[in-house]
C-alpha cells in the first residue's frame, strides 16, 4: 500500500473520524500541541543560547544540558503524541500539505543535528564545558538547532492554510509535484 493509500485507510477509521469531527477534542489536542512549545522548544532555545554563549555563560554547558534534558524529553513526548493525534485526525490532507512535508523533513534535519552534536562536539565537551563562549562547532550546532526549530514552528503553523492544497487547482507543476498531487491529476485510462 502506498503512503497515500495508508493515509486514506487511516482517514476511514472510526477514531480518525471521531477526532476530526469532535467539537472539543481536536481543539484541545491542538492547544496542548501549541502550548507545549513553551516547554520543549523553550528549553531547547535556552540550551541553544548557552551553546552560543548568550545565556548562563558561567554555567557548565553539560550541567545546563543535564538539567534541561529531562524537561525537553517530556515536552518532546507530548509534542509527538499530540502531533500524531492531529495527523491521525486529518491524514490525507496533512500528507499532501506542502508545509506538513517541509515540517517533517526539517524535523529529520533537527534530529540529525542533535545526533551529530551528540556524537561529535558533546563527546569532547570536557575541553570546552567551562567556556563562556563554546567553540565554533558547538555554536554552529546551537545556531542550526534554533534555525531548524524556527522553520518547524512556522511551517507547522502554516499547515492550517490551504494555499497549496490539491483541491485548489491550478497550481504550478512544482507545487503539485512537492505535494504529491500529481497522482490525482493522472488521466483515467480506460480498462481493457
Amino acid at each position: 500500500m502506498s503512503l497515500l493509500g495508508a493515509c486514506r485507510w487511516l482517514a476511514e477509521t472510526r477514531g480518525s473520524i471521531a477526532l476530526h469531527e469532535s467539537l472539543y477534542m481536536y481543539p484541545l489536542v491542538e492547544s496542548i500541541h501549541v502550548l507545549t512549545l513553551c516547554l520543549f522548544v523553550g528549553m531547547s532555545v535556552m540550551l541553544d543560547l548557552r551553546l552560543l554563549g548568550l545565556v548562563m555563560r558561567h554555567v557548565r554547558a553539560s550541567e545546563m544540558a543535564e538539567r534541561l534534558l529531562p524537561w525537553m524529553k517530556s515536552g518532546f513526548a507530548v509534542m509527538v503524541i499530540t502531533g500524531a493525534l492531529l495527523f491521525y485526525a486529518i491524514p490525507v490532507r496533512s500528507y499532501q500539505n506542502i508545509f506538513f512535508r517541509i515540517k517533517m523533513i526539517t524535523l529529520v534535519l533537527a534530529g540529525l543535528n542533535a545526533w551529530l552534536f551528540q556524537i561529535g562536539v558533546r563527546r569532547r565537551s570536557a575541553e570546552w564545558d567551562l567556556d563562556p563562549t563554546p567553540p565554533a562547532p558547538a555554536r554552529a550546532a546551537g545556531a542550526a538547532s534554533l534555525a531548524l526549530w524556527a522553520i518547524i514552528i512556522v511551517s507547522g503553523r502554516m499547515i492550517a492554510y490551504n494555499w497549496f492544497d490539491c483541491d485548489k487547482q491550478p497550481q504550478s507543476n512544482f507545487v503539485n509535484w512537492a505535494t504529491g498531487c500529481m497522482a490525482e491529476k493522472r488521466p483515467v485510462i480506460p480498462g481493457p
Binding site: L37, E63, R67
Partner: protein
C-alpha cells in the same frame, strides 16, 4: 466605551491591510509563535528553578538575571505581533470571551512578573522563606497558562 475604539481599529488602514493581505496574518502569527517559544523558555527556566527543578544548583537571582533580557525581548515581540493580530479582527475579539480571558491574564501576568516575581527572584535567597519561591512560581505559571490558553482559544471562537 471600548466598542467604538475597537471599530476604529477594525476600519483603520493598518487593520484593513493585514485583513486583506493573503499572507500577512499568517506571517505575523508565525512570529507570534516564535516569540512564544522564547518567552516560554525564559519564564519556565526561572519558574522551574523557583520550584527546585531545572538549574537547581544555580542561584535563583543568577538564573533570573540571565533570563531577563530574553523575557523582555520576547515579550516585546509578542506585544508588537499581538497588537498587529488584534488590529486585523478587533470586533471579533470584542465578542470573544477567550480574548478577554487572555487580556486579563496578560495584564496580571505582566504586573506580577515585573513587581512581585522580580523582587522575589532578585532577593537574597537566605532571607526569603522557601515556600514563597514556590508560590510565586505557581502563580506565574498559572497566569501565563491563562494567557496562552486564552490566546489559542481566540482562534477557535467565532
Amino acid at each position: 466605551m471600548l466598542w467604538p475604539f475597537f471599530q476604529w481599529c477594525e476600519a483603520s488602514a493598518f487593520g484593513t491591510m493585514i485583513r486583506e493581505s493573503p499572507w500577512a496574518f499568517a506571517v505575523i502569527e508565525s512570529v507570534h509563535l516564535l516569540g512564544l517559544s522564547v518567552i516560554g523558555g525564559a519564564v519556565l527556566l526561572v519558574d522551574l528553578r523557583l520550584l527546585g527543578f531545572g538549574l537547581r544548583s544555580q542561584r535563583i537571582a543568577d538564573v533570573a538575571r540571565n533570563a531577563y533580557p530574553w523575557l523582555v525581548g520576547s515579550l516585546m515581540v509578542m506585544l508588537l505581533t499581538g497588537v498587529a493580530l488584534f488590529f486585523s479582527e478587533p470586533t471579533k475579539c470584542y465578542y470573544s470571551q477567550a480574548f478577554w480571558v487572555k487580556m486579563t491574564s496578560l495584564a496580571l501576568a505582566v504586573l506580577f512578573t515585573f513587581t512581585i516575581r522580580r523582587r522575589i527572584t532578585m532577593a537574597d535567597e537566605t532571607r526569603v522563606r522557601p515556600i514563597w519561591f514556590k508560590i510565586v512560581a505557581l502563580v506565574s505559571l498559572a497566569l501565563w497558562c491563562g494567557v496562552g490558553a486564552g490566546g489559542r482559544w481566540i482562534g477557535f471562537s467565532g
